[in-house]
Structures are given as C-alpha cells and as structure tokens.
C-alpha cells in the first residue's frame, strides 16, 4: 500500500512512521508538513492512501482534498476535533485520534486495503471504466465534495448529474444537492467524457443514469434520469447524444 503522510508536526510524522513500520505492506512514499508541499507530493507520487492531519498550518485537511486532482483514500488524524469530523454526512472514511492506537491504525489500514482491492478488481473487470486519460475520473473513482462545512466522499458513478447555478455547480446524488465552488466547464474537463455528457449549457449528466429519452420541441430531447431529474437537450447536443448512445 503506497501511503503518504501529511502532518504538521515532525514528531507526529515520526510517530506514524514508527507505527507503520510494524505493518508489512505499508510503503510510505512521502510526507509533508504543509498544504502546498502536500499537494505537489501527492500529485507527483500518486499514493493510494493518505494519512491526513485535519489541522494544517494556515489551512485544514479538507482544503487540501478540495485542491487535489488525484484523490487517494483518506484516513484523517486529529488530536481533538470532533466538529470537523462531524462535518461528514457520510463517513465513507476513517479517522484516528492522536496519540494513535496501533490496533485502531491496523483496523483502519485493513479497511483501506479492502477498499483498494475492490477498486482494483473493479478496474480490471471493466477496462476503460476508470477514465480515458491522466487526471480524468471514471465511474469507480471517488470524489470529495464540499459545500461549506459539509463534506462527502462519493463514487463518481453514483452522481446522476451536475447543474450550473451561477458560479457554483450543484451535484445530484443520493437525494443530496450540495453546491460546489467550481464551474461546470472546469468539472467537465476532469470527468470521463464516456460517462458524463454535456446535455446543455447548464447540465452535465451521467449517461449510466439515463432512464428515458423523449423527443422534445425544436428537434431536441428531454432526458429523464433515474433519480427523477429531467434535463432538456438542445438540437445540437441531441445529435451528439444520439451518436454517443448508438455506439
């Protein structure tokens, strides 16, 4: 398991190294004390697992996750910050309290290992499903979504679509509608075009979530998604959608 450590205190990093030394497949590929350094290190080394301190100098661990293109699995470490961790609507990840209990660490790594294996399995079972290019995210990739104080880790394949709302983008998944501080175009560039289709100027839809397509006025379409959202597709985009689906 390729692990990257982000901790502001050198001794805390040393402590993690000591604890991880007892775990045979834990391979520490790098470490950082601050956000910028961590971002560069993670993008360059592409670790599988991130041990992330919630409190970083001048920033929080969540801000780091916001800025990452490559999002590894994340285990948070914190001295005392139940508030930040309560921010998770869906606790799709683990957290460790400092001083870290070796058994808790081992259990967290076990879970991470299982998740990674499931991901690898998914990737080989459906080749091409994990994206077409570097930095391009596919259905099985996890994304970190943040709306103010609330955070979610979501499998991209579970997101039905995105809708532009001014300078924000609203994501649709599992009945949640967080507003993300991104533009739809910036988002589109990062997503697998085989999976997400730009249905109109303000909509990006997950093609696997399409339930029905009806002819609509002006030779366009009206697409109904499985979660009930309805999106109108313009004539120009309708042609593209036809081509995409006929393949």
């Amino acid at each position: 398991m390729r692990i990257y450590i982000v901790e502001d205190s050198r001794l805390a990093r040393q402590e993690l190294r000591t604890l991880l030394a007892a775990i045979p497949d834990a391979d520490i590929v790098g470490e950082a004390a601050e956000l910028a350094q961590a971002r560069e290190g993670i993008e360059a080394l592409l670790p599988e697992l991130l041990l992330l301190d919630v409190e970083l100098p001048g920033a929080t661990g969540f801000e780091l996750l916001d800025q990452l293109h490559h999002l590894p699995l994340v285990i948070f470490t914190t001295a005392y910050d139940q508030h930040a961790l309560a921010a998770f609507e869906r606790n799709a990840l683990d957290y460790l309290l400092k001083p870290i209990d070796p058994q808790r660490l081992e259990a967290a790594l076990l879970r991470a290992r299982e998740r990674l294996q499931a991901q690898r399995h998914g990737a080989t079972a459906a080749p091409g499903a994990t994206g077409t290019g570097p930095g391009c995210k596919g259905a099985d990739d996890m994304v970190f979504l943040r709306d103010g104080e609330r955070c979610w880790f979501v499998r991209l394949g579970d997101v039905a679509g995105f809708e532009a709302c001014g300078n924000y983008v609203q994501a649709w998944f599992e009945g949640q509608h967080p507003l993300l501080q991104r533009t739809l175009s910036a988002l589109e560039e990062r997503l697998d075009p085989q999976l997400f289709f730009r249905a109109s100027r303000s909509h990006l839809i997950n093609l696997r979530w399409v339930q029905s397509i009806q002819p609509w006025h002006n030779e366009g379409y009206r697409v109904t998604l499985r979660d009930g959202h309805e999106v109108e597709v313009s004539r120009r985009q309708a042609k593209q959608l036809r081509e995409r689906l006929e393949l």
Binding site: D8, L11, A12, E15, A79, Y80, K98, P99
Partner: protein, 347 residues
C-alpha cells in the same frame, strides 16, 4: 389540551351524567319525551357552565393567585354558575311549556324549594368538575417545571464543562502526548523532561489559582513549560524571543494573564502561519506599571476566527478590570503582518 380532545371528554362526561340520571329516574317513574329533553338540557347547561368556569379561571389567572383568593374563587364560582345553569334550564322548561312541546306530569315536583335543591346538586357537580380541572392543571405545571429544571441543570453542566475544556485545551494536550510518544524513541532524556513539563502545565491548569495575584516569576515558569511543549510540536516554526526587563523582578499580576496571551499568539498566529515565525514576549516595568507585550505573525480578525471559543479576550479584559489595578488596559495592534497585544497593569 387540544380543544377537540377537551370537547370529546366533556361530551362523554356529561352524556354519561345524563344517561345515569335518566336511568335512576326510570327506576321509579316511566320515562317521557319531556323528561329526556329536560335532562339533555340539564347536561348541555352543565357543559356550558363548566366551560365558562374554565374560561373564567384561565382569564382571571386563578391558579397563580395566593391560596386565600384562590379558595374563595373555587368556593363561590361553582354555586354562581349553578344558579345561571338552573336559570337556563328553567327558561328552557318555560319555553317548552309555552310552545306546548313539553308536558310535565301533574304530580311533578315544583316550587322554589325544588329549584334550590336542583341548584345545590348542580353546584356540587360543578365543584367536583372545577377541582378535577384545577388538579389536572397543577399536575401539568409541576411536570413542566420539573422538565425546565432538568433542562436548566443540563445547560449549566454543559457550560461548566465547556469552561473547563477551554482551560485545558485538549488539542494542545493530545498533540503533546502524541509528540511525546515519538520522542520517547528518539530522545528518551528529552522525553522525560517534556513529560515533567506537561505534568507541571496540567497541574497548574487544574489547580487554576483562585488567587487575585501571583508573582511574575511563578507565571513565567508556567509559560516557559508551555512554550517548550509547543516548541516540541512546532519545532523550527516556533521561535521565541524573550525580552525581560530585570526591573520586572518582584512584580505580580493576575494569574494566567501572560499564559493566555502566549496561548492565543501560538494558536491564532504561529499555528495558522505557513512556515511559522517569531513569538516575541516583552516585559517592561516603569515605576508601578507593568507592561506585557506579546506579538506573533498573523492578521487580526475583528470578532475572532470561527474556530475560536471566544472566551479568550473578553475573559482577559474581565480579569484585568477586576485585578489589574487602576487604569489596567489591553490593546491590540496589527501591522506588517504581525499582531501585537499589549497589556498594562499595576505591578
């Protein structure tokens, strides 16, 4: 109680009374349409009278009155209402007779004595009703009072805990313990020293001096222990420059004032600045005035940051007002990316 539910209970209660009365009458005379109609009228009059009593009691706030006034009202209101109710029934009877709808048997009892007997009967019923209602109200009030008491107690306990937690700063404590774990392997001798310093800091916080004033030298020991532990965490990111005027020797100050300033400087300044910086602690004395100046890299945010407990500065000002002596003062200045807090007080 919900109005619909109250109406239902009233309906059941008075219907039961009417049926019971009719049943008893049926024992010694045959029921006639007139008897049933009159008994229903009596039931309706009792219902109306009891509702009127309730409205009267609520509007007059009877339950909040002193015992004597309350008893007087509980004693006199039902007979008064009973008279009104009997007058209603009497009018109903007269009207029925006049219209030829009611036909009383020739031997039916009548007269003032009979009317008084009926009124007394009604009054007793209304007394019972009013007592039951008031009892229910008292029970409900008592329950609500109990709940409010528990809630107040819980809130007070939560606040107490919050104050205690703010003093101990769990963040600092657990980070220090975590760092110590690593230091035990790296440098056991230093780890032992740091453990002693942590003990001193904790003991000091828990004993939380109730004294108005402590010698500056004593406060400095506490601050030096604390700073050493923070340096263990921040290492090169926390550089400390002490500048202590020898004239301050022998000065005293309210406990934990300097500690609070240093804690804030590290928490809001050093810890939030990429690369850290210099924490400067300057102590000066001019005559009877002691000047404490703590500065750190950072920017001053009016109203404090989100993560701040907000207890720091107001608490400090309060303490200064109480034990800082004449003209004690706390000033905050921000310039060139540094925040400087200056406290002046009587030494």
């Amino acid at each position: 109680m919900h109005p619909g539910r109250r109406a239902l209970i009233q309906l059941l209660l008075w219907s039961f009374y009417v049926l019971l009365s009719l049943g008893m009458i049926a024992n010694y005379q045959a029921l006639s349409g007139t008897l049933v109609a009159v008994m229903v009228a009596v039931g309706a009059a009792l219902w109306a009278a009891s509702e009127a009593l309730r409205a009267w009691a609520l509007r007059g706030g009877w339950l909040d009155l002193p015992p004597r006034a309350l008893l007087l009202r509980l004693a006199l209101a039902p007979p008064l209402m009973a008279v009104v109710a009997q007058l209603l029934v009497y009018s109903f009877n007269r009207l029925g007779l006049a219209l030829g709808l009611l036909h009383f048997a020739a031997n039916a009892p009548y007269g003032l004595g009979v009317l008084l007997g009926y009124t007394a009967n009604t009054a007793i019923l209304l007394w019972l009703w009013l007592l039951a209602w008031a009892g229910g109200q008292w029970l409900q009030r008592w329950r609500q009072g109990e709940i409010a008491k528990w809630q107040a107690e819980a809130a007070a306990r939560a606040l107490e805990l919050q104050v205690l937690r703010a003093q101990i700063n769990p963040h600092f404590l657990f980070n220090a313990l975590n760092n110590l774990r690593a230091l035990i392997n790296e440098d056991p001798a230093r780890a032992r020293e740091m453990l002693s310093r942590l003990s001193n800091t904790l003991r000091h916080t828990l004993q939380h001096s109730a004294k108005e004033r402590v010698p500056l030298a004593e406060e400095l020991v506490v601050v030096r222990d604390y700073v050493a532990l923070e340096q263990l965490h921040h290492e090169d990111r926390l550089q400390v420059r002490w500048d202590i005027d020898p004239a301050t020797e022998g000065a005293s100050l309210p406990p934990m004032i300097l500690q609070l300033l240093v804690e804030n400087a590290i928490k809001h300044g050093i810890a939030r600045t990429v690369g850290g910086g210099v924490l400067e602690i300057v102590l000066r004395r001019q005559g009877a005035r002691l000047q404490i100046e703590v500065s750190n890299p950072g920017v001053w945010v009016e109203g404090g940051a989100q993560s701040s407990t907000g207890l720091g500065l107001p608490h400090l000002r309060e303490r200064l007002k109480r034990a800082g002596g004449e003209g004690a003062d706390c000033r905050i200045a921000a310039a060139d990316g540094r925040v400087r807090v200056t406290v002046e007080l009587t030494a």
